[in-house]
Amino acid sequence: MQVKQLSPTEISDLIKQRIAHFDLKPEVRTEGTIVSVKDGIVRLYGLQDVMQGEMIEFDKNTYGLALNLERDSVGAVILGDALHLSEGETAKCTGRILEVPVGEAMLGRVVDALGNPIDDKGPIKAESSSPIEKVAPGVVFRQPVSQPLQTGLKAIDAMVPVGRGQRELIIGDRQTGKTAIAIDAIINQRDTGVKCIYVAIGQKASSIASVVRKLEEHDALKHTIIVVATASDPAAMQYIAPYAGCAMGEYFRDKGEDALIIYDDLTKHAWAYRQISLLLRRPPGREAYPGDIFYLHSRLLERAARVNPEYVSRHTNGKVKDKTGSLTALPVIETQAGDVSAFVSTNVISITDGQIFLETDLFNSGIRPAINAGLSVSRVGGAAQTKIIKKYAGGVRLALAQYRELAAFSQFVSDLDETTRKQLERGQRITEVMKQKQYTPLSVAEEAIILFAADQGYLDNVPLNRIAAFEQDLLSYMHTSHSEFADRIGKTGELNDDVLKTLKTIIDTFKSNQSWD
């Protein structure tokens, strides 16, 4: 920290000033006594006026969260280190719900679940703070999802489009590229103005470090807040991390901006909550989860929403008018051996507006992102899809569905009739087109031209193993020879005869100049 040189008299003047303005009223508080401390849980006696979810202050700047209000005692989780607490010490009510700092100053920073910086970049001068638990906007303040949130991944933007304000689940086994999709989506928001929050829950510190480094490398950290509760943090911190991240995202939503939040992952969040609940002696239910495990996730994901201009202007005291705000959520769930019928995954599937289902088999056969086109759905994103992509993506889904049915026959291509053979070949090519390298999100124009080429059969005479090269060359040709066209499509996403004609000419000239057969 930089310190200006001050003379001793100035310092004492400053101190005098602060002492003069110091409020010296007696403090009225409710006190209790610690009865037991174990496993990050304290049991308190007294604290008659304590509220559910209220912060409790212990000695030495340690705080707790009151979760169980019982007849004779209060059960609370300790936020942070509990080693110095002991039986018989006093605890105070604070009368406040837990708050985290929010605001623009948080962007580009890595913080813990309480909003304290952990990236050695100095203190954060946040504009304000916000309670971590808030009630989601009501029905009257909401607006249908109608703007696209481009993830930059062809497969997702074409088949399972995500709209601003939508909740889309990313589900799959370990090592199927769930985080990769989330990171690509963040990188693709570089120039869209969408603020991103990445909440890492119960992950290895090393994985989080590599995510931070990758975002930095791709210039995507400046619009991102990373909220971290690693596997070594107490369960209480892992439990509150998503709510803290959500509060930071809501700040942008409520002032009429768009934000994207990724919860990576909610399985571990449920585990942390299960641990807390069992230690608080709440009765266990299915898979030993407590009874309110559904509410745990539903109240969190309900806060992702698109709100109408009235809501925004009310929250900004009329400063921002005629702008909708949105918070898009991409929760991640890790399944065990592809079992989507486990307790937490079925819960989150039913809460969200669709899911992106990733499969190990696809991943291993080289289809990356390993999206299962049959099981992945987006229940509201279609309304928000960019027109031009929507038009040419319709064929993609159909072709892939037909291909899946016929794929078993692909060994006997020679014995099949002409139509079936065509369908098979189209399916193979589209599968090939849907592949995409990590950290290379595409713009709307890029996605549009590739989907157009695939849909209109321009790829039919290109050999399978050269599709990737064809795609790359086509994109660089478009950027060198028709850059204004690409920019225009990227901005407007419009679809008219003129655009179609240009698309056609670009591909025709590109194909005629080179040999792809």
């Binding site: 403090e27 508080r29 409710t30 006190e31 209790g32 006696y45 604290l47 008659q48």
Partner: protein
């Protein structure tokens, strides 16, 4: 105020205390029961008795007889005898202090008496105490009994405990707050 370290027995003691209180209220024998229970609690918290109570080899009959004999000078009524027998039957002599405590709380509530702890740095004057008791009585709208303690570590001012609520006007707190304020 209940002793925090024994609070784990509160849920065991509550039914006994409540039953005794309601019975005494019905029969209009509250003062007698109060004396009985508090004496019994005193007996139960005596170090010698505690040794006996905690020893698993002590038979229940021995304990029952002990309480009966010690409490005999109080002219123990038949119902109070039964109460002791009930405690013996369920082996609950250990929680007598909690039962008495909860009984006293109920009693104080009925009589509208609040126990207030006053902590000062130096011994407070009698006139000041009375004045304070009057003000507090008005504030909590009931009679107050003041118990005073002297704790030089609070430097100056006073701390008032009304049940769980604490009114902290000590110089120590002001200084800690000032420290936090200047540091933050």
């Amino acid at each position: 105020m209940a002793n925090a370290s024994n609070q784990q027995y509160a849920h065991l003691a509550r039914p006994y205390a409540l039953a005794a209180f309601q019975f005494a209220l019905e029969k209009e024998q509250l003062p007698a029961w109060k004396v009985f229970l508090n004496t019994a609690a005193l007996v139960a918290s005596d170090t010698q008795t505690l040794k006996l109570l905690k020893n698993p080899a002590t038979s229940v009959t021995v304990l029952h007889d002990l309480f009966r004999e010690v409490l005999a000078p109080l002219n123990v009524s038949a119902e109070q005898q039964n109460f002791l027998a009930l405690l013996a039957q369920h082996q609950r002599f250990m929680i007598l202090p909690e039962i008495a405590e909860l009984f006293n709380v109920n009693y104080a509530q009925l009589e509208k008496i609040s126990k207030i702890r006053l902590i000062t740095a130096v011994e407070a004057e009698q006139g000041y105490k009375q004045h304070l008791a009057q003000i507090l009585a008005k504030r909590v709208q009931r009679e107050v009994t003041l118990s005073c303690e002297v704790d030089p570590s609070i430097i100056g001012g006073a701390i008032i405990h009304i049940g769980d609520r604490v009114i902290d006007g000590s110089v120590r707190r002001k200084l800690t707050r000032l420290l936090q304020n200047l540091a933050g």
